[in-house]
């Protein structure tokens, strides 16, 4: 029995290490390629170790405004999108957690139905562009995915129901606190785990969003990092066409390596930050899957 245990232990560790390599290797290939000289990439292809180490791709990006602009757009978008998402999600989830609020079941259904039925891309696109005219504005990146559906609202509502003792709120009310004060000064500080989970999910979504860029943006100045990546995927010359050239001549753009370097810039910040917040992500996933 003991021997058996040891053999099995080695077996599952080997399997898991192989799976982990499978998950990580593509990123190594990506990063290694971004540090490889353009000539070597074209001659030998992508490899896990740079055959000819070079930072020319990053030097090119440093000399080009569009990457800084794209970073700025991504950061501004992630920050404002996450903040607004958290604010309006909390502000609707808290009242919905009140069992005896008149009209509660109607509002619940109003939120819930958005999870069952959707108009789809065509009407959504028509409405945002023709009624609200958001094409080529920052709003086009922000608004269409502000609350994707009722899912996070439902999640937060159950958290409030289960974790905020009504007595605490009652005593604050007796002390004369108004409902907004109670929400922002008492309920929210008591709900940091769920705020972290919902906030991180929203932040990840905004950082990784390229769809809105694809649908609504044609103006290069409004590209986020992911939007830029989306444009460069099938049009390797995109940066060359739109770049405001700094110290690099247009002819010598290391196109292949630059694409990889931009992909690194789009992925690496998340990969570095996320292990620290992993527990909140995992929590959100289990909570979310349990009950819609």
């Amino acid at each position: 029995m003991v021997e058996n245990r040891k053999g099995y232990d080695i077996f599952i560790n080997v399997i898991l290490i192989l799976i982990c390599i499978c998950c990580v290797a593509p990123f190594v290939l990506l990063i290694a390629s971004s540090f490889t000289a353009e000539s070597s990439l074209i001659k030998d292809g992508y490899f896990f170790i740079p055959k000819e180490f070079s930072t020319e791709a990053y030097k090119f990006l440093l000399g080009d405004n569009s990457i800084f602009r794209a970073y700025g757009v991504t950061i501004l978008l992630t920050a404002s999108g996450t903040a607004i998402n958290l604010l309006i999600t909390t502000m609707i989830a808290y009242p919905l957690s009140k069992q005896d609020m008149p009209g509660r079941s109607f509002f619940n259904f109003f939120v819930f139905f958005t999870m069952l039925f959707a108009g789809g891309l065509v009407p959504t696109y028509m409405m945002w562009t023709q009624i609200f005219h958001i094409k080529n504005t920052f709003a086009a990146l922000l608004f269409p995915s502000l609350l994707t559906n009722g899912f996070t609202i439902m999640m937060m509502r159950s958290y409030f129901q289960q974790n905020i003792p009504p007595e605490v709120l009652e005593s604050a009310r007796i002390d004369g606190a108004n409902e907004f004060y109670i929400l922002f000064k008492i309920v929210m500080p008591m709900s940091l785990p769920i705020l972290a989970t919902v906030g991180l999910m929203a932040g990840l979504m905004y950082w990784n969003d390229w769809n809105n860029n694809l649908y609504y943006i044609t103006e290069p100045g409004l590209n986020s990092i992911q939007g830029l990546l989306n444009r460069m995927l099938t049009n390797a010359q995109y940066l060359k066409q739109t770049a405001t050239m700094g110290n690099v001549g247009a002819a010598s753009v290391p196109t292949t390596a630059v694409r990889m370097a931009v992909a690194v810039l789009g992925a690496v910040p998340i990969l570095c930050i996320y292990p620290f917040f992993q527990k909140y992500f995992v929590k959100g996933m289990t909570m979310g899957a349990v009950k819609g």
């Binding site: 799976i19 290939l29 502000m91 009242p95 008149p102 789809g120 009407p123 819609g292």
Partner: protein, 307 residues
């Protein structure tokens, strides 16, 4: 009496209604208003008259859509890929969860879990770059470092359809398995270790313990998650099917799903009528599937039903 108390109640609750307002307005604009735009499927759209002013043409858009081969191809692809994702995804998620759960060292377990979750954290565009680094015909890793040393002919992946079902299924699992195993992992943690000890004493093999204890304990979760995915079978991951094949026209017969078809019709080909019809078809069948699967869950286990 009742009326008066309702008025009192509403007076007491008015700050809550104000709190809800921003989200309610947002959901109304972003989710409810487009629902009315579904009428576009029955109209001959032109920009001047807009969504509601354009003339009605009855079922013509649908007649055109279903007269083409596209309608069949996109429906088949959407459903078959979903089926493959459900089956392969469930098996790999359970396998990974069981292995992770059996790791004794807490530290190792955490490291493994962090690493398998990495692909979940990145966008589909970045995934397309990663895939391209392997698959590209002239600079790709597979052609240069696997096929060439073996003396095999290079493959031009972006123009040969036969590889794509496997590539897309692999990428879908690669990206999602770290996430989907979390549910099963949480479930496994709740199984009483006493069962396993008793079974081991009785001489049950590891495989027997898996099939006789682990699987039955996971069964409710497997059923619920599978039924939920069946409810979403008419929807596909737009990013996976749009970005990863890099919009290669040669691959459309195996990579086009309803979502990409709607997108191309709307944005690239200007075929708004057929695009709207395909979108309407997706919304309706999708809704029926959600209602149907929910009815099934209610019969199996009430507490897992959505409504």
């Amino acid at each position: 009496m009742k009326k008066k108390s309702l008025a009192v109640q509403i007076k007491k609750y008015w700050p809550f209604y104000i709190m809800m307002l921003p989200a309610l307005i947002y959901l109304f604009i972003n989710n409810y208003m487009p629902m009315s735009g579904l009428v576009l499927a029955f109209k001959k759209y032109n920009v001047r008259d807009g969504i509601f002013g354009s003339p009605w043409i009855g079922l013509q858009n649908f007649e055109f859509l279903f007269a083409t081969k596209d309608a069949w191809i996109i429906t088949r692809n959407t459903i078959l890929y979903n089926l493959a994702f459900i089956i392969a995804g469930t098996v790999s998620a359970i396998g990974l969860a069981v292995f992770l759960n059996d790791i004794v060292s807490k530290k190792r377990k955490k490291v493994y879990q962090t690493l398998v979750l990495l692909p979940y954290m990145i966008s589909m565009v970045v995934v397309a770059y990663l895939a391209n680094a392997f698959l590209s015909s002239d600079t790709g890793f597979i052609n240069n470092y696997i096929l060439e040393p073996l003396g095999l002919q290079p493959v031009s992946f972006y123009s040969e359809t036969k590889y794509w079902p496997f590539i897309l299924i692999f990428i879908n699992i690669w990206k999602g398995v770290g996430y989907s195993c979390i549910m099963y992992l949480a479930n496994l943690g709740g199984i009483d270790p006493g069962y396993y000890e008793a079974a081991a004493l009785d001489g049950a093999t590891r495989w027997q313990r898996f099939t006789k204890i682990t699987l039955p304990c996971l069964k409710p979760t497997i059923i619920t998650l599978t039924i939920l995915s069946i409810g979403k079978m008419f929807y596909s991951d737009f990013g996976l099917f749009y970005q990863v094949p890099m919009q290669s026209g040669a691959l459309f017969s195996v990579t086009q799903t309803i979502d990409t078809y709607v997108f191309y019709g709307l944005m690239k080909n200007g075929n708004i009528g057929m695009s709207a019809a395909a979108g309407f078809y997706q919304s309706m069948v999708g809704f029926i599937l959600v209602l149907g699967t929910n009815a099934v869950i209610r019969r199996i286990s009430r507490e897992n039903a959505m409504f």
